[in-house]
């Protein structure tokens, strides 16, 4: 190859020169233009995890229940009675910024197929969203488009969206975050794998036909796309079709039930290229593929378009040759395409032909295993200065006004306007719908077991101290599960950051991983999968440079031994004493209160106190499981005052409460780890105190539930706030005020 041609091929990859050299080294030659584009996509940060892979190894990934950890399409954990769950979260931030409806919809479709690839029936979705302040028209447009897209896909595909989050900050204005998680159920002996095996086995393409979707990206200069047709005439985003997605679920589960399928993977990012190379590399085998046999939607597609198309609703299967018709028949019965496009070969090379000509011939692991970087990391300048916060300098109104403002804040306000757009009941498993600390699903096939689900992440905390912030987010997720009475089984995460090429951003990434790891270790919960999204940057970002806040989101799933005893968050009976479980004090550093009234993040979130937090969480779980408490709710954004108000609204009754002595703003609105507001019949107070004492968890009786208003007073004389009284109707009006 001439030198000029080699330079062109390098440009086609869109990769740094050092990566290109590495490709040539591994291949022993220059890649041809088709191969170059394949490397370009597979070695992109999105597919290759070049900046994150080394750091991610720090996460704890095992527990006696883990059947499949990170590395597969989704993690799988045993839940007992012969059943397992598959769980995975993924980001669709950039597509959603470009086209909120289709970007979010295809995000849902994509995560569902990851779960399906484990052989599991998808049974629940979570969505974790970040936008700019909703009074900004652009943020509002993005928000309503994203919510409509999630609803449009999730509702039609028949998987309930049972929970999520919505948080707002200026840094997300132009770069929203859209993270979706999916949970599936599978018999332990039916868990599917993606490693191809069996020389001579058929490679079966199934699902929707391949079109020119999502291939306007880096590797394609517009002049090369197609003779005569202008770029403007072509879609640059992927579109989902939930109808086909639903058929794909049913057909795939039927195909897997034949027992003929030995490996399966979805075709997501990088499409056929990714599925072929990863399945072959994991199985240490090769594949011989004939592109002429790929079912196409349009005539005249070029080989590289077919190889890199990100058309939705497609799966790739390896099937024992003599049984391939049985698997294909399942897809055809549902009206989907199913074609054998090649064979598994013992010789570990990926060979692709088109029009009888070999166009790709390379070792699959060279595509699948992108190089691992060791990026520089640096503590951001001025970190410790930003940790200093004078609470008195926060320009906040009096406590009554502040409480109402926080209840109206989009981060706190009821998300009813969102989750009522989602079918959260289809599947008849939803015992606790969205609106509580955690959603609860029953296991129809293994009563009375149940699962609780939550997703939590706090960019404010992480912008101040990523290690504490991420640990606190893990603690909050476990606290939410405890309120339902669930024991944490597994975490999947989505790590949203700016450019890892900037040392201060990369430092926040490393700290975040450390924080998640420490908290998961303290709780004994493994991280069974996740997703990293870098380069979340845009004008208006307020974090480091223009980046979004470092925003790790953790989705956590837990097990209920008896779903009929799931906890509830609303006060349940007039006159029930209300207690605070956990340390009474909170911090204002990087709290919602601080940020809402001061606009920039200042101060430092509290120490996660992992040991104490783990004990408090275990204590609450036990209290719920043994039926000691009639309600319990953890205090998160907005602190204890907000948690009390939420329990009032959810229970439809007021309360009379005296908060402990201390600085007003800290005691009312300060945030801290694993603190719970519970109510219970008076005769069980002793038993609860004893349980708390055994776990070394502080308990304070605050007052009692009931009456038409929330009365809040504070103990102590000097400096204590004046008592306030807020009628339930006023609380409800403030909290239910969010329109999306």
């Amino acid at each position: 190859m001439t030198r000029a041609a080699a330079v062109d091929t390098a440009a086609l990859t869109g990769l740094p020169v050092s990566d290109y050299r590495e490709i040539c080294r591994r291949l022993g030659r220059d890649p041809n233009p088709v191969e170059a584009r394949m490397y370009g996509v597979m070695w992109s940060e999105h597919c290759g995890y070049k900046h994150s892979r080394a750091t991610l190894r720090r996460l704890p990934t095992s527990s006696p229940r883990v059947l499949t950890g990170p590395g597969e399409n989704a993690g799988v954990v045993s839940i007992g009675r012969g059943w397992a769950l598959a769980f995975k979260m993924e980001s669709h931030n950039h597509p959603s910024a470009v086209d909120p409806y289709n970007g979010a919809a295809t995000g849902v479709g994509g995560i569902i197929r990851d779960i399906l690839a484990m052989g599991a029936r998808p049974v629940a979705l979570l969505n974790s969203l970040r936008f700019g302040p909703l009074d900004d028209p652009r943020a509002r447009r993005l928000c309503s488009g994203v919510v409509a897209g999630i609803a449009g896909y999730g509702n039609a595909v028949g998987v309930p969206t049972v929970g999520g989050e919505l948080l707002t900050a200026a840094c997300y204005r132009d770069n929203p975050l859209v993270n979706v998680a999916c949970l599936g159920l599978v018999r332990v002996d039916r868990v599917a794998r993606s490693a191809a095996e069996g020389s001579g086995s058929a490679v079966l393409y199934a699902g929707a036909r391949t079109g020119r979707d999502g291939i306007g990206g880096a590797a394609f200069a517009s002049t090369e796309l197609d003779e005569g047709r202008a770029q403007a005439d072509r879609a640059s985003v992927q579109m989902g079709d939930p109808f086909t997605g639903k058929l794909l679920i049913e057909a795939t589960l039927e195909a897997l039930a034949t027992g003929a399928v030995t490996a399966i993977q979805d075709m997501g990012a990088a499409g056929l290229t990714c599925a072929l190379s990863e399945m072959a590399a994991r199985g240490r085998v090769g594949m011989a593929i004939d592109l002429d046999r790929v079912p196409l939607r349009e005539a005249g597609m070029r080989p590289e378009e077919i190889l890199l198309s990100e058309s939705q609703e497609r799966m790739l299967l390896v099937v024992r040759a003599e049984e391939v018709e049985r698997a294909a028949a399942a897809y055809r019965r549902w009206g989907l395409a199913a074609e054998v496009i090649g064979q598994v070969t013992a010789d570990p090379r990926l060979r692709v032909t088109a029009g009888g000509r070999t166009i790709v011939d390379l070792p699959p692991e060279t595509l699948a295993d992108a190089p691992i970087y060791d990026p520089p990391s640096a503590v951001p300048a001025g970190l410790e200065a930003r940790w200093r916060l004078d609470p008195a300098a926060v320009p906040a109104p009096d406590p009554l006004e502040a409480l109402l403002l926080l209840l109206r804040h989009p981060d706190v306000a009821s998300k009813r306007g969102i989750y009522e757009q989602y079918d959260h009941m289809v599947g008849v498993r939803t015992v606790t719908p969205p609106g509580a600390d955690a959603a609860v699903l029953r296991l129809i096939t293994a009563p009375p077991l149940g699962l609780a689900l939550t997703s939590d992440g706090n960019g404010r905390w992480c912008a101040s101290d990523p290690r504490r912030g991420s640990a606190l987010s893990v603690i909050e997720a476990a606290a939410n599960l405890a309120c339902a009475g669930a024991e944490p089984l597994a975490v999947t995460d989505c790590l949203n950051f700016g450019s890892p090429e900037r040392p201060e951003v990369f430092w926040t990434f490393r700290e975040t991983i450390e924080g998640i790891a420490e908290a998961c270790e303290a709780l004994g919960v493994p991280v069974i999968g996740g997703n990293v999204s870098f380069y979340n940057e845009a004008e208006g970002g307020e974090g480091h440079g223009r980046a979004v806040f470092p925003t790790p989101v953790v989705a956590m799933v837990g097990l209920l031994d008896d779903v009929t005893r799931a906890g509830r968050m609303g006060f349940a009976r007039e006159g029930d004493p209300i207690v605070l479980l956990g340390a009474p004090g909170g911090t204002l550093g990087a709290s919602l209160y601080q940020h809402a009234f001061q606009d920039e993040v200042r101060g430092r979130p509290s120490d996660p106190e992992l040991e104490l937090s783990a004990r408090a969480i275990a204590c609450v779980r036990e209290a719920v499981r043994s039926g000691l408490v009639s309600s319990v709710h953890d205090a998160s954004d907005g602190g204890i005052a907000v948690a009390l108000a939420e329990s009032c609204v959810a229970g439809g009754m007021g309360a009379s409460v005296t908060l402990p002595d201390g600085p007003v703003a800290e005691v009312w609105f300060g945030e801290g780890p694993a603190r719970f507001v519970a109510s219970l019949p008076p005769e069980r107070l002793d038993a609860l105190s004893e349980l708390a004492c055994r776990n070394g968890v502080p308990v304070h009786v605050l007052g009692h539930a009931g009456g038409p208003a929330l009365h809040l007073a504070q103990a102590g004389s000097a400096g204590a706030a004046d008592p306030i009284e807020l009628p339930l109707a006023q609380l409800t009006e403030a909290w239910e005020g969010l329109e999306v």
């Binding site: 409806y101 079109g211 979707d213 047709r229 005439d233 985003v237 079709d241 939607r297 939705q312």
Partner: protein, 81 residues
């Protein structure tokens, strides 16, 4: 004050799931049809009467320029359905 009819269609190559479904439904009823495409039509009255305004509304709001194209025609009095 002029009336316009705006027809919004998916760009060629974009998956037209509604079109496929309609083709299937017509087939089930025994009709042989080809190349079915489904789009939207929006009729409206523009007080300023400017076609350019209609075009701008399409680009900003009525259509999704990433996946759709549009055509604007004036509805001439009496010539409507």
């Amino acid at each position: 004050m002029r009336s316009f009819r705006i027809t919004i269609m998916l760009k060629p190559g974009v998956l037209d799931a509604p079109g496929q479904a309609v083709e299937r439904g017509l087939g089930a009823l025994g009709y042989q049809v080809g190349q079915v495409r489904v789009g939207k039509v929006i009729e409206l009255i523009l007080p300023d009467g400017e076609r350019a305004t209609a075009d701008e509304m399409c680009a900003r709001f009525l259509a999704n320029p990433l996946i759709e194209t549009w055509a604007i025609e004036e509805i001439v009095q009496g010539a409507t359905q």
